[in-house]
């Protein structure tokens, strides 16, 4: 789960990491008031989508009036389809150099890793692609944690003077503490400014929390799902993994891999999936019913494809769920079912009784669903 910039900065600040002075504003007038106290300001749209800068979500203001004007424009706008409801009004920092500093997880090494580059302000993916030699990695053993020598390596990589060492060391130490205490999978400052006064200050901040750890962070768990569409929210409430796509074949499957493979096969045979919906392992008939209802009611769904490989999941439960859903939904859309595995005979019988035939082969089911949309 991604946090808003202002939330990430609040946390950073609480851990002693310098951030620009600033406040949130929900109206242009609030922005005016905040800016009156700060002088030159930067007005930043608070949205959870990436690429905000390029999309015009950051504006500079010399006066409170300009800040009001900037906030007005931002609060009327949308960034990549997301309405801007809040802006962050911050003092404008005089920046000497823009640096990159993050702490994330290296899957290959199975360790947290500091990524450090003297070329900040660019997205790390672009940076790594274009200037791989400019991105330095400093791995942290999760059993040992942060050790001060890491900041000395980072200092060299950032080309900072030795007088900045204690500042940098304290920032990196805090980043590691934030990662561990918040169960973060990313703590990123991009850019980290080396200011005209020679101080380090986090101009932007991004924190992503590991979803699996949310149960032990009740305060964060409450925030969960706020960036989702209404369908995504509903699916989430029902406990499904769900992602909106732009095709017309609704997909219900079990297991992330099989669900993606189903989507990929749809594409392979010339169709377009409307969504990713993984009912997970061992879904009950009620959960299947809700998944089927959700998808049948979705305006984009023209055909529904159910592809179940029963391991823990029982085919008879799935069949009963489908039947119940069909009774409760008024809209008539074709439904293609492929089921295999635990209790498949019973499942097939239940569906056949209601006139629904069941495919054995995934390819046959996918082709049938695609053909229905091409009609």
């Amino acid at each position: 789960m991604k946090l808003y910039e202002y939330e990430a900065k609040e946390i950073a600040s609480r851990y002693g990491i310098p951030v620009p002075r600033g406040k949130l504003a929900r109206t242009p007038d609030e922005a005016y008031i905040v800016a009156s106290e700060l002088g030159s300001t930067v007005i930043k749209a608070q949205v959870l989508v990436g690429g905000r800068g390029l999309a015009g979500g950051v504006k500079i203001a010399q006066t409170p009036w300009e800040a009001r004007e900037a906030a007005f424009k931002l609060l009327e706008s949308s960034i990549r389809g997301v309405k801007v409801n809040i802006v962050l009004v911050e003092e404008k920092i005089c920046v000497s150099r823009e640096l990159y500093l993050s702490l994330t997880i290296d899957r290959a090494m199975r360790k947290p890793v500091f990524l450090v580059s003297e070329m900040g302000g660019v997205e790390i993916e672009d940076l790594a692609r274009k200037y791989p030699g400019k991105v330095h990695r400093i791995h942290v053993d999760p059993e040992v944690g942060y050790s001060d020598y890491m900041s000395r390596i980072a200092l060299s990589a950032l080309n900072l003077p030795w007088s900045s060492l204690s500042e940098l060391s304290s920032i990196m130490k805090s980043m590691y503490r934030i990662m561990v205490e918040y169960d973060a999978e990313l703590v990123e400052f991009n850019p980290l400014a080396y200011s005209c006064e020679g101080k380090l200050i986090a101009l932007d901040a991004k924190i992503i929390i590991d979803d699996n750890s949310l149960p032990r962070h009740p305060d964060l768990q409450e925030l969960y799902g706020r960036e989702l569409t209404s369908y995504e929210k509903k699916a989430r409430e029902l406990g499904f993994s769900y992602v909106e796509l732009d095709g017309d074949i609704g997909v219900i499957s079990n297991g992330a891999g099989l669900t993606m493979a189903t989507m990929d096969s749809i594409l392979f045979y010339g169709g377009k999936p409307a969504n990713f919906l993984d009912i997970g392992g061992g879904a009950s008939r009620e959960r299947v019913r809700e998944a089927v209802k959700l998808m049948l009611n979705h305006p984009r769904t023209r055909v529904l494809l159910v592809n179940i490989f029963g391991g823990i999941t029982r085919c008879d439960e799935v069949a009963l769920g489908i039947i119940e859903a069909l009774k409760e939904v008024s809209q008539v859309k074709p439904i293609v079912v492929r089921m295999l595995g635990t209790n498949e005979e019973e499942g097939r019988r239940i569906l056949l009784e209601q006139g629904i035939s069941v495919f054995v082969e995934m390819d046959d089911a996918v082709k049938t669903a695609v053909n229905l949309t091409l009609k």
Partner: protein, 295 residues
Amino acid sequence: MGMGILVNSNTRVLVQGVTGREGSFHTKLMLDYGTKIVAGTSPGKRGNYVHGVPVYNTVREVIAEQGSPDASIVFVPAKFAADAVYEAIDGNIKLIVVITEGIPLHDELKFVNYARKRGVIIVGPNTPGVMTVEECKLGIMPAHVFRKGRVGLVSRSGTLTYEVARELSKRGYGVSTVIGLGGDPVTGLDFIEVAELFFKDKETDAIVLIGEIGGDAEERFAEYYSGASSKKPVVAYVAGKTAPPGKKMGHAGAIISMGMGDYESKKKSLEKARIPLAETPSQIPLLLDELLKKQ
């Protein structure tokens, strides 16, 4: 006897969390498959039996009364799973299969590092497990879709693996050992390590690798494969071609991997390593046909 990798018919198995719903259910299925389960643990349940398997409070008790198990399979809920893994590692169990889904990332990081430093192999977390066909099943996979044969199957996915196993069976291919690496961003084993085991295994002629988007495990494998001196034929399938960028597809994570992790990156890497890439699960046996014919 003694075929396949990691486990065989002699492997003495402990089930941690044996009295839970999942633990008990799969203990039955594993026993039915012939797996040698010597004990289970469940705090406070000492003296009970689950499908004839004696239950103990602690791993230490198991060792004292049944001798050291060779492997453990963990069905303990996410909140308590790390504790169970530490109990197994500290009890000197050398292979631990962690079925549990939803374990916090930093818990996994810590115990995976701890295990590796102590020479303990962790399969998972969030894995269907490992099975050497007709010898030992240490997992939750539906056994009947796996025919015995000479293909090593290694996967980041669960149900998709069963689908692939079935496609293989249909076309006359069987499986030597199947290993689910686990769906989480951090896992005990990776493709390279498992492939190395398969390369050495006399019962395995070829490998089917089932990847998915997210992370760079497939890219790393491709690079390793290009440089490997003694190797066996590999066919790959990668799920997630249609997944939109930036979204998390279930566990298929979005953790930064420096420009790697999307379908195109994986495809390019695998092609560069001359590893045939199937577009649907059903294509996998066809690619195997070609590849093995060539040899």
